[in-house]
C-alpha cells in the first residue's frame, strides 16, 4: 500500500539569496503510513514547524517532493488546494485563529471552504464538536466567551471538521491544565480511531508522546536524526541528551539505576513498564538481567 504521505529529499531555505538566508530543512526523507500515530520531537529551531507546514502545502519545497497518496502535492494548483483539506494542520495556540460570531460558524469555516452542502456542513460540525467534547450549547456562543480550554477545543474542531486523512497538531496541549491535556489527547485518539486517520503530533512532553505514539521521529538541525518506536528511540538517551532533548522521567530513573550498577533495560517510559522490569530483579536478584 502506498504511504499516505511520502517526503522525498525535502530541503527548505528561508529568504534565499538575502543576508537572512537560512536552511531550515536539508534532505529530509520520511514516510507516514495510514492510521499511524507519529510523534515529532526536536528542540526549538530543529525544523519541526517548517516540516509540518510542507505536509499540507503551506510552504513550497526549495527542492525535493512531497507525495500524498503517491501524487506530488504541487502537481497542479487544484490538487494543492485539495491537500489543505486532506491534511489538517492545527497550529500552536490555534485559538488565535477563531474569528466567527459563533463557535458553530467558526468550526464550519473549513467545511464551507470545501464547498460542501449546508446539511453536510452541519453534520460535520456536530461530529467534530463530538470528537472534541464540545456541548451543543457551546456551539451557539461567541468563541470569545469560552474558557481557554474550550477555545482550544473549538479551534481543533475547526480542523477536524474537514475530516482530514492526516491530522497534524503542533503542541496541542501547550498551556493547558493536566486534566485538559489528558482529555484533548483522548479526543485526538478517538478521532484517529474513528477515521483511521494518521496523526502527527509535535510535542515537548516526552511522557505524553511516549504513551501515544506508535513511532517517534526526532528532528535535529533540519534533518531526521532518529525514527523508530518510542522504545528504540528512548534507549538512545545519551544521543537525545546531546540534541538537547530529555527522555521521560521513568527512563531517566532507570538510566540512573543502571549507572549505579543495576542491570536493567532502561527503555521503559511508564511506571507500569518500569515496574515490570524492576520487579523480577528485586525478586530474583540479577539472574533475570
Amino acid at each position: 500500500m502506498t504511504p499516505i504521505i511520502e517526503i522525498q529529499n525535502l530541503t527548505h531555505v528561508y529568504s534565499p539569496q538575502t543576508p537572512f538566508e537560512h536552511t531550515a530543512l536539508s534532505d529530509v526523507s520520511l514516510t507516514i503510513d495510514r492510521g499511524e500515530f507519529v510523534g515529532l520531537i526536536g528542540h526549538t529551531g530543529s525544523g519541526k514547524s517548517t516540516l509540518i507546514q510542507h505536509m499540507n502545502g503551506l510552504l513550497r519545497p526549495t527542492s525535493g517532493h512531497i507525495l500524498f497518496d503517491g501524487r506530488d502535492i504541487w502537481e497542479d494548483a487544484a490538487f494543492t488546494r485539495q491537500i489543505r483539506f486532506r491534511v489538517g494542520l492545527v497550529f500552536q495556540y490555534p485559538e488565535a485563529q477563531l474569528f466567527e460570531e459563533t463557535v458553530f460558524r467558526d468550526i464550519a469555516f473549513g467545511p464551507r471552504n470545501m464547498g460542501l452542502s449546508e446539511d453536510e456542513i452541519r453534520t460535520r460540525v456536530l461530529r467534530a464538536a463530538g470528537f472534541t467534547g464540545l456541548d451543543e450549547a457551546v456551539l451557539e456562543k461567541s468563541p470569545f466567551e469560552l474558557s481557554g480550554g474550550q477555545k482550544r477545543r473549538a479551534a481543533i474542531a475547526g480542523v477536524i471538521a474537514m475530516e482530514p486523512d492526516v491530522l497534524i497538531l503542533d503542541e496541542p496541549t501547550a498551556g493547558l491544565d493536566p486534566s485538559g491535556r489528558a482529555s484533548i489527547l483522548e479526543n485526538i485518539r478517538s478521532y484517529q480511531a474513528a477515521q483511521h486517520a494518521a496523526v502527527i503530533m509535535v510535542s515537548h512532553s516526552m511522557e505524553e508522546i511516549a504513551t501515544l505514539a506508535d513511532r517517534l521521529v526526532v528532528m535535529n538541525h533540519g534533518s531526521v536524526a532518529m525514527s523508530g518506536t518510542p522504545h528504540a528511540v528512548f534507549s538512545r538517551a545519551q544521543e537525545l541528551a546531546e540534541m538537547g532533548l530529555e527522555v521521560p522521567c521513568m527512563t531517566q530513573v532507570l538510566l540512573e539505576l543502571r549507572h549505579l550498577g543495576v542491570r536493567v533495560d532502561p527503555s521503559a517510559y511508564t511506571i507500569e513498564q518500569a515496574a515490570e522490569r524492576l520487579l523480577p530483579l528485586l525478586k530474583g536478584g540479577a539472574a533475570h538481567a
Partner: protein
C-alpha cells in the same frame, strides 16, 4: 512575504550620521524638507540632491535598501508625474486626443518626481539611522515646551515608541494567522475585489483581538513596574549635543540659506 517590508526600519551602525543627536537629525529633516519645498529650479534641486547623496554616503546605507524602500511608492510618484505632465497649462508641444503636453508640464513632472523621491528618501534616512527609542526621545525633548500648554508630550512619545516597537510583532502575527486560515482552506488570491476584501475578515478579526489583548497585557506590565506617565520621570540616557551636532546645524542652515538665495534668483 510581509516580513520583507523595510518601511520605518532601523539599520544599526556607527557612522557620523548614526551618532548625531536625534534632535539634531529631526530639526535637520525639517530644514531639509523646507529647503526641498522652497527649491524652485534645477539648480536648487541639485544643491539639495548633492546634500542628500552626501548623507547617504556618510551613513553607509546600501543604495539597494533605499531603492527597495522607494519601490512601494513608485505608483504615487508616477501618478503625480503623470498628472503634472498633462495638467500643467502652458505652451503645448504635443497633443494626443484630449491629452496636451506642454513644456512646462514636462519640467514640473520631472521636478515633482524629484521632489517626492527626495522627500521620501530623506525622511527614510532619518528612520534608517535613528533607533525608534532615540527618535521618540528626541521628539519628546523637542516638544517639551508644549508641556506648558498641558500638551501630553511624554504620553505621545511613549505611544509612538510602543507603536513602532509593535509593528514587527504584528506583522509576524499576521503571517501566523494567515497560515492558520489557509490551512482551513481560506483563499486570499482569487475572486473579485469584494470577495477578496471579505476574505480578509478571518485575518483582521483575530489580529485585532490579539492586538487588544497585547495592549492590555502591556498596560498591566507597565503598571506593575509603577509606570505613571511622564511626571518626575528621569532618563537613563540623557541626550547631549556634541561638536558634530553643531557642525550639522551649520550645514543645515547653510543648505536652507543657499536654497532661499537661489530662489531669489529664480534658480
Amino acid at each position: 512575504m510581509l516580513k520583507d517590508v523595510t518601511l520605518g526600519q532601523f539599520f544599526p551602525g556607527n557612522t557620523p550620521i548614526h551618532r548625531l543627536d536625534p534632535r539634531t537629525k529631526l530639526l535637520f529633516v525639517v530644514a531639509y524638507i523646507t529647503a526641498l519645498f522652497l527649491a524652485k529650479w534645477f539648480v536648487s534641486y541639485g544643491v539639495v540632491l548633492a546634500f542628500l547623496l552626501t548623507v547617504i554616503a556618510l551613513s553607509r546605507i546600501s543604495p539597494k535598501v533605499i531603492a527597495r524602500s522607494v519601490k512601494p511608492l513608485l505608483f504615487i510618484i508616477l501618478l503625480t508625474a503623470f498628472l503634472n505632465l498633462f495638467y500643467t497649462p502652458g505652451e503645448p508641444i504635443l497633443q494626443v486626443w484630449i491629452f496636451r503636453v506642454s513644456k512646462e508640464g514636462i519640467v514640473s513632472a520631472v521636478l515633482m518626481m524629484l521632489r517626492i523621491t527626495m522627500l521620501v528618501v530623506g525622511t527614510f534616512m532619518l528612520t534608517y539611522t535613528t533607533s525608534p527609542i532615540a527618535l521618540t526621545d528626541g521628539l519628546e525633548s523637542l516638544l517639551s515646551p508644549l508641556k506648558r500648554l498641558h500638551f501630553p508630550v511624554h504620553e505621545l512619545s511613549m505611544m509612538m515608541c510602543i507603536a513602532l516597537r509593535f509593528i514587527p510583532t504584528l506583522i509576524e502575527e499576521t503571517d501566523k494567522i494567515m497560515a492558520a486560515q489557509k490551512a482551513r482552506g481560506a483563499d486570499f488570491e482569487s475572486g473579485n475585489l469584494i470577495r477578496r476584501a471579505k476574505a480578509l475578515i478571518p485575518i483582521l478579526v483575530p489580529l485585532f483581538i490579539t492586538a487588544f489583548r497585547r495592549a492590555d497585557e502591556l498596560a498591566t506590565a507597565m503598571e506593575a513596574r509603577c509606570y505613571h506617565g511622564g511626571d518626575g520621570r528621569t532618563k537613563m540616557n540623557v541626550l547631549r549635543f556634541h561638536r558634530c551636532d553643531g557642525a550639522a546645524a551649520v550645514v543645515g542652515m547653510a543648505l536652507l540659506t543657499a536654497v532661499i538665495v537661489l530662489r531669489r534668483f529664480g534658480l
